[in-house]
Point group: D2
Chain length 282, copies 4
């Protein structure tokens, strides 16, 4: 016997731009939205019965319609409004809305922010994922593609050596990474914007300040500091590639290289992932 | 109290090329390998203790060393050899090896395959993931990025309409997708190459042959046919984006358009996922 | 004094799909089109005068409208029809249309091509660029992203050595590249499809057959063979990155490596470009 | 007769990171370098004679070696040192060095810049191209991938209408683009860093301040302002895609949309290019 297992469907890469046209200065919100539904969709698969299948085109329309009234605040609030809307369909058990936000900043003109002109930029992409069921709404938030580097205070030594080990131990290496950090909030009702900014600041400050004996320990130190500093968070998951920068051997050219010249590489790379959380007994 | 949750680490994007230099004709194997380990790595995080941390550089070296003796057969066999090797470290509970293979085909010269020259190509990328623990080795295999299209025999109608629904019902649309299909084998000892080819053929033939009332139903029909036709598989997971091709309205230019001219789009796209499996009672 | 120099404008990434629905079997043409115009557009720049500015949206519409009647044959013929159409605007001196084609092949079902289902694939992307002025129409065609490899019969030695040279000479290396080859036809009236196929075959056969003392010489040998074999072409321009595959040193692991295991890299890469042409005196 | 035409070769994607370890705070320079040589290389093509072929591997080594002594200042100075070095080979007539720079900024810790930790970011990528021959060294500089938006004060009307025109005229649209601006300096001896910053500031301020009747006019207005404001520049070339943001029709949902909600698209896009220069008679 063959049966349907877990399934979900939705619309991805809905790219919404929302402009708030305040006389004192416009604001731009730029969100790439993905919506996914789970629920009573077995007949859609096994019987070709679309009676309960909310069209993904409808999801797209809804994302644009909701942007008008719900996307002037946090992406978490917008995501929550969308997710809870889709629960109004009886056949939906879980609605998940993921939002990736590009930041647009007013151009400085004569030292003052322009009223109606912007550049896109900034380090890293803010993301949020809201998952709503009839019993709970959970909010995850975080940052992706935050490229960061420590030019010293990073080591890696004391690791085991086997037949295939050639890496030298080092007390002082350059560590570069592209941080993904996703955290889960304990409540769906928070000041998401200020919390995000505060967590991001902790993340970067601890990245800058700590001595790293390994990427693994760096994750622990950063994630623990985030949880200790921000009660609203229950859990932090981090994914840190190790984007190796190898010291170039300049000796053949009669030159020294005391931590000055590196070749930056992306392939292959280390990839370190861990979740750090409050203990359930806490 | 704050504690370490799930964690793993490894090396990704190890790009191995293995040439078998048979006098009658060379063969090229091209594998992008990712290795991840789980196990007794808590102290590496919380104490900066690298005593048990197999260096990811060592993983990379091992991938190249094992390519010499194990990468002339299937990528599943190579992945298994690597995964089981890393279990020899006592601190490792689970070793996961993912391999993505590029196909190189001999260039035809005067109608015969060249002995030592190749082009890379083909539709879709073959992948395999081997996960080994001390109690079991599981093998998943599949295909990614297989772009396919049905120019007719695809419909979507009978779906619910709400305030945000504008999509028209259709009896006949163009359906384009980029298929990801991953299946789990019941055994780690199989003729993986011939099984892959047979499953791929079933997948494509059923894609071509069936009438599609929705992408959801297409997944069910294809996955069920694969499981019915191939006993070695326990489960198939499919992810099908709906890469919308919209019929262009040529009426403003005084022209008809009876399913002839489409605009191909990638954003936004539908995204349909489901797992189909043998019932546990079966 | 400040003045306007060279300028042009147009629409890019127009993704047209054209389906020919013959009862015996559908055919799919998939073209990504870019259109650029040059001409009397100074006032558009310096005076904000749009009187002569054909909207790029109109160009897009025209590409779709022309697909209906002109995209069942070669992409060169389609590009030419479009380019010559835009010359009908008096203000246009030169219209350039670039087309990149994805190949869709019928899925084999029971050994026979499906009537209405296709996969996208193949090695390399066919391209064509048609530039029309009131005095001439020139057609360039070619192929991009054709990834190819010679596993032997490639050498590189006898090069000069200076203070910064560390590369060893080699009699036998693996050569991998991603071929771009663009050629110019002597006439805008040709059987473009069969000529393309014939030139592509020559390119690949010579790539496979020749002994390469350098990428530079490989370009010369391939381009000369193409010009000698195909009178319709006046000139061939080739761009060949050298995608280095370095033999992995397995000696630390107690293993030999006689041309068996390589690390495939993309960065940094060599980049060799040359044009080969019929002499003007010929 | 068949002959060799224009040719050049070199190394691309050389990714150099240079750390200056001042006690008061490290500085990071991150340069992706491409080097290309032209000259007496005909025999390398036609005769397989490598006697004069400086290995691209040697170019890569040289880029790293020169980074140590020349990459603590501007990328233009580094590029010039490299380009003029390669002219020391008699067979080289022209050496071209292109550098793309990623910006790394110190992380703020407690409001002060970290001494040894950085994030990569910022809007746009700074680039420089130095071309040296025995008679002259020319320096081009500029910025790429600077994504910018005007939320008002952009119009497009008065354009011609033909059979294929459907675009409505508009007095007020959202204009988004990804600016490429490349300028040529009159001298190879300048304070390149401060000039770059000043030109970038002019570019953005004028982008923000002007009323745009078309992308064409925007290029003219910005480029003219740059040339008027910065005597060191002889010429500016700009490439501006028009990344269309279409106002979403919310009327079917019973909602107005007064310039609030847009769908952001990348395909197809307008593409407008022009060079603006000082007149030769000036």
């Amino acid at each position: 016997m063959i049966e349907l297992g877990r399934n979900r469907y939705g619309k991805a890469q809905i790219h919404v731009v929302r402009v708030a046209r305040d006389p004192g200065g416009h604001r731009v919100r730029d969100a790439i939205v993905a919506i996914a539904l789970e629920g009573d969709f077995a007949a859609a698969h096994t019987d070709g019965d679309n009676t309960l299948v909310v069209a993904t085109d409808t999801m797209k329309n809804t994302a644009f319609a909701f942007a008008r009234d719900h996307l002037d605040g946090s992406i978490e609030a917008y995501g929550r409004a969308l997710a809870e809307h889709f629960l109004e369909f009886e056949q939906v058990d879980r609605a998940t809305v993921n939002v990736r936000e590009h930041r647009w900043q007013p151009i400085a003109v004569g030292g003052r922010p322009a009223r109606d002109a912007f550049v896109r930029g900034g380090a890293g992409t803010r993301i949020a994922t809201v998952a709503a069921t009839r019993s709970a709404t959970t909010v995850e938030a975080g940052i992706e593609d935050l490229v960061a580097m420590k030019t010293t205070r990073s080591a890696f030594k004391g690791f085991p050596r086997d037949r295939y080990t050639t890496l030298a131990e080092t007390d002082d290496r350059l560590m570069a990474t592209k941080i993904t950090a996703i955290w889960r909030y304990g409540s769906p009702d928070l000041d998401f914007d200020s919390t995000f900014e505060a967590v991001r600041r902790t993340l970067l400050e601890v990245f800058a300040d700590h001595d790293s004996p390994s990427v693994q320990t760096s994750i622990w130190i950063m994630a623990r500091a985030i949880l200790e500093g921000h009660e609203a968070l229950d859990e932090v998951r981090m994914v840190l590639p190790n984007l190796h920068h190898w010291l170039v051997d300049l000796a053949p050219f009669g030159m020294t290289n005391d931590g000055e010249v590196y070749i930056s590489t992306t392939e292959p790379h280390g990839l370190i992932e861990a979740t750090v959380r409050r203990s359930e007994g806490a």
